[in-house]
Symmetry: C3
């Protein structure tokens, strides 16, 4: 009987890893789009597929929680982590959708710095998710968790300066509306990486 439970437990970690890998895919896609700003509509379609894939994995995790009697980590933590990872992609996707909808013709310099940070934060998040099974290696997890906090602070500083600049330059109000929202979405995507890291840190602490 015990044996039947073990593969189930591993399955949760596999699904989380898939979900985090998908987040890295989305983060790289938006960085590449910002680095070489062309074919926005095509990028939006690709991003939409990645986001649907993410929804699919999140749905599988929710289904698995409902059907599993004993979960390897607390049910509420599984939900919270799945939804934080899902949110990262939602905000990356929402940003790309807006570039397309608002017919943004070129990207502002500060935005490049944000997408660089998003890729780094997504990669740290993936590594943290991979470490989730190794409760013992608390030192490794702590180091990555500190790094995500550092990246979140850096993103915060970059986005604040970017928004201040947006208002200072006496811009066209329509540009302000568009870019304020784009910056805030990019910032939220990074915040959600930090949320995921916080959940993982608490889970590890609880099971140490």
């Amino acid at each position: 009987m015990r044996l039947k439970l073990i593969p189930r437990e591993e399955k949760f970690f596999d699904l989380f890893e898939q979900q985090a890998e998908n987040v890295v895919l989305g983060a790289k896609l938006i960085k590449e789009l910002f680095d070489d700003y062309r074919e926005v509509e095509q990028a939006a379609m690709k991003m939409s597929r990645i986001e649907h894939e993410g929804d699919e994995i999140a749905h599988q995790i929710a289904e698995k929680v409902s059907l599993t009697f004993i979960t390897p980590i607390d049910r509420e933590d599984i939900h919270a982590l799945a939804s934080a990872l899902d949110d990262i992609l939602d905000f990356i996707n929402a940003t790309v959708v807006r570039l397309d909808l608002y017919k943004v013709s070129s990207v502002r310099d500060d935005a490049h710095r944000m997408t660089n940070i998003i890729v780094l934060a997504a990669e740290e998040t993936l590594e943290l998710v991979r470490e989730l099974q190794n409760y013992k290696k608390h030192g490794v997890i702590k180091k990555r968790w500190v790094e995500i906090h550092r990246l979140e602070n850096e993103g915060d500083t970059v986005v604040r300066a970017a928004i201040a600049k947006l208002f200072e330059q006496g811009q066209d109000p329509i540009e302000v509306i568009k870019w304020k929202e784009i910056y805030e979405h990019l910032e939220t995507a990074i915040d959600k990486c930090e949320d995921a890291a916080n959940i993982i840190e608490q889970v590890v602490l609880k099971n140490a």
Copy 2:
């Protein structure tokens, strides 16, 4: 002793049904206002009453959860469903409030399409809530759940086109600010119907 529990259980489902019926009332009110755009302030007062009624029912549900030892469905699902239903009304109400506050003098065509979808999604949500007690009829629930997802996708497409048009037409920035928010609120109201449907689907799956 068993008998004392049964009426309590039914009471939860009754309260959810009342809450979902109230959502349909709110959805119809906003559709009627958009179809015949007059007397905004009066509609806002009516809508405010419906929203307060919704708060009252949500509060009753929360109180009942606190006082009931064994709930017919999981406590967390009761909270999540009550709050999703409450949110639908909050966003419909917030939209009507803004029409009044922003002194919107006429409604844009795309908004009509949104309020039509909201009524359909609210009606499907009510039917799903009614089916909640019949765990066996998973087929019926699945069909309605698929329909709400279709409506949410349709709403998404409509609102994206509407917002793109808003920015394309070189509108007055103040108009953009007002209508962007109105569209986004209508979209969120539909999203919350989908959230409610997802929770019901998970509950049924768990208790199947």
Copy 3:
């Protein structure tokens, strides 16, 4: 063995009290800044320290929940209350940050009325948190809870009138963007006091 549990239980209430005292500090700081609108950057730095202190206490509460086997009130309620208190400060802080970022040169009259309400709501919240340990005194708690609802309604009325005025006066769109966000943040800070009060009321009800 019993004795070891008691200090732990008290520690939760102490941490909540510290968190609520910190909220009052933040509320007073924003009121003082609005009453004597100078040195915004300096106020933003002070506010940032208060907010970090708040994060620190929230983190301690989360850690304590993870490590405590039997908590004095339900785990989910501890998380919900800690996060509502944390959110109050986040929105006060976000408002001060925006005054600085947007280079707001003077504050609008309606905003003064909002910061007065925030201080009152924060003080009621602190008193409610202090009463949390006295399950018996339900009457006292109910009175404070009613007062926070009254303040939230008042805040709602003030902010609606303020936003309506903002759009009526044919303002510069950039001013509308800035002040609409500032008003909405102030309103959300008050809403979060109401959320905290609702959680406390439910906890007391459950444990009565």
